[in-house]
């Protein structure tokens, strides 16, 4: 009778371990994933900063400046120039919004005043690079999905006003401004109908 009782208790710790392991792994993987997202976020800050530097530097045309900024983002955050549509670390984060490549955006509006000035201004020092990416927070199906977020996490996010609670959308911005390109200078001087100083 005693032996039978002990036999029935076999596996109890295993069952309890399995039950607690679910929650335990949920927490562990959550913080692991969160640390990976934070580390990747720092890397994206560096990438956008370098991209903004490339955009800042003068060049033949504004298009050339944008292309240089795009090249930096592709080299740092995408697989390669031939695979610019694929993220380098898709298990951590994927670029969203923007285009060519996904997540990348050059803010050339130069008009960030509030209320908006009239006439609108286009200030070269208010231009920069933005990269938006989305990461998964819970590796286990712990947080459900499809629940609208009450916060602003859908800032420049899905675009449909809702966001899965299981994901985190972050935006890295670097606004270093833009030096006038040679083409801008030529255009400006052409308006003045003459050559001033040494030209461009």
């Amino acid at each position: 009778m005693i032996l039978r009782g002990k036999k029935k208790e076999e596996g109890q710790s295993t069952v309890e371990f399995a039950l607690t392991l679910i929650l335990l792994m949920g927490f562990v993987l959550f913080f692991f994933q969160l640390s990976m997202v934070f580390a990747f976020g720092n890397y994206v800050h560096y990438a956008t900063f370098m991209s903004a530097r490339a955009y800042l530097s003068a060049g033949p045309t504004r298009t050339d400046q944008v292309n240089r900024a795009r090249t930096v983002i592709i080299d740092t955050l995408k697989v390669s120039s031939t695979l610019a549509g694929q993220d380098r670390f898709p298990m951590i984060a994927r670029g969203i919004q923007g285009n060519d490549p996904a997540g990348f955006d050059v803010d050339m509006s130069g008009n960030q005043s509030f209320p908006a000035p009239n006439p609108p201004r286009n200030l070269s020092w208010l231009q920069g690079v933005r990269y938006t990416f989305r990461s998964r927070l819970f590796l286990l199906p712990f947080g459900g999905s499809g629940t609208p977020s009450s916060g602003n996490a859908n800032v420049q996010g899905s675009g449909n006003g809702t966001q899965d609670v299981n994901s985190l959308t972050l935006t890295s911005e670097s606004f270093l401004g833009r030096e006038p390109a040679d083409g801008d200078c030529q255009t400006q001087l052409a308006k003045w109908n003459g050559i001033y100083d040494n030209g461009c």
Partner: protein, 92 residues
């Protein structure tokens, strides 16, 4: 009784295993259901999705941009209520 044929006991372990798995899965689904019902995941992720997201984007957790009801304390906006420097900000 002691020498009962072993054949009758075949499958007992796997049956118990299946029953136990059913209990474990049911318990798991019930727990996750309760956590979702009380918004546990939302509460856990809210500081990250809100404060941290704004601190990451703007450098300060209580900044609001154009896209979320702002601007408020926006670093690139020069108007009352916004500032370009986060050093010793003045509450308004």
């Amino acid at each position: 009784m002691v020498n009962r044929p072993r054949g009758n006991e075949e499958g007992q372990a796997i049956t118990e295993y299946v029953l136990m798995i059913a209990i474990v899965v049911t318990f798991y689904l019930t727990t996750v259901g309760f956590l979702n019902q009380f918004g546990f995941a939302q509460q856990l992720a809210s500081p990250i999705q809100n404060s941290f997201a704004r601190a990451y984007q703007y450098g300060k957790p209580d900044v609001y941009g154009f896209e979320n009801g702002g601007p408020k304390d926006h670093p690139r906006i020069t108007s009352p209520g916004n500032n370009r420097l986060f050093i010793n900000p003045i509450k308004q």
